[in-house]
Symmetry: C2
Subunit: 214 residues, 2 copies
């Protein structure tokens, strides 16, 4: 298995955590999102993934795209340890948490989007950072409300073993911290994040631990 | 089953298609995203869905959020007719198509995002529309490449029965047309979109066919 990954990409980070939690060995193929106008935009990489985004997972002669689709694939092909609960209602809840990060927070703070704001819309550095913090803080605040009131939350987002929602939460919190978002009113998120970071599977997936880390 | 929905919300539209394809009866609870500053932002609705977004599906005493999580729930609880293929590799491919729309195109063109551009960043109407078209055309162009080259594509995104990717494609094409995006170089997408729109399940899910349509 080959993971096309950029150390700082939080979508790649999610998949790295999932691979580690399941104990699946893989090779990292670094794709540098900034070098030479972006290695993800070369014709060669686009042949693999027309979206021109990381991550992509090469497996069974195919190249899978989209972090959550990749993690669901891992869950289906290597079910142990499970990253999703058993009951459909609980699975929907966990997927909802993951998607609220993957659809409602992260896409707005992606590199290509921030670039468009600055280059095409001539948005100032200050306004760009305010944009970033706005979506990140608003999205995480909603997530905090959802997590704080739900009895299914344990040490991790669902119970006492890490799963799909945690794979998404930790990279998002890392981004939030990098951009100095205000997380002071989010004790549940911070507690879960700390519990995750204490695990080897999460530590080995961190941006700083990647072969292409700068 | 109660679907909290706004006629023009493309995430709601996805779920309406899926419910119809599976022949599941449901009641629509209209949530007007523009009236009185947005009914989705009232404390009452946020109690149901802290994200303050539509859709939400009330079922089994719970309120499910996130369109793709809701559709996966429907797939797990009412498997016939299936909206996902059988093999993990094909499932990952179909989920990848759906997520490339749900994560890489739609979130950037959401009402709340367009509003932020205009209100907070003082972006002109012209630049706002260019932003919209940029992400929509770029994302759909990548999707066209992916679909045009893959033998799994049939009348629909996967084979000859409509599924999860089609549930996402049709609402996105509707948005693209509303904003006059250039889809002339996307014959595969347009062909699949036409095949979908000819089906009753898609027709009944269309914005204009909703009780809250304006």
């Amino acid at each position: 298995m080959k993971l096309y990954s950029y150390f700082r990409s939080s979508a790649s980070y999610r998949v790295r955590i999932a691979l580690n939690l399941k104990g699946i060995a893989y090779d990292t193929v670094p794709v540098h999102l900034l070098r030479d106008g972006g290695e993800q935009l070369t014709p060669e990489y686009r042949k693999l993934n027309p979206d021109g985004l990381v991550p992509a997972l090469e497996v069974e002669g195919a190249a899978l795209q989209q972090s959550l689709a990749i993690i669901e694939y891992l869950e289906e092909t290597q079910p142990q340890p499970p990253l999703l609960p058993q009951s459909p209602l609980d699975r929907a809840w966990v997927r909802g948490l993951a998607l609220s990060i993957a659809c409602d927070i992260h896409p707005l703070n992606n590199l290509r989007v921030l670039r468009y704001l600055v280059r095409d819309l001539k948005v100032s550095e200050e306004d760009k950072n305010a944009w970033y913090r706005h979506w990140c803080e608003q999205g995480l605040a909603a997530l905090e409300t959802t997590l704080a009131r739900d009895k299914r939350v344990g040490t991790f987002c669902y119970g006492d073993t890490p799963g799909l929602a945690d794979c998404c939460l930790v990279p998002q919190v890392a981004n939030a911290r990098r951009l100095e978002c205000d997380l002071s009113a989010m004790p549940t998120i911070l507690r879960i994040n700390d519990a995750c970071l204490a695990l080897d599977a999460f530590a080995r997936a961190a941006p700083a631990a990647q072969p292409d880390a700068e």
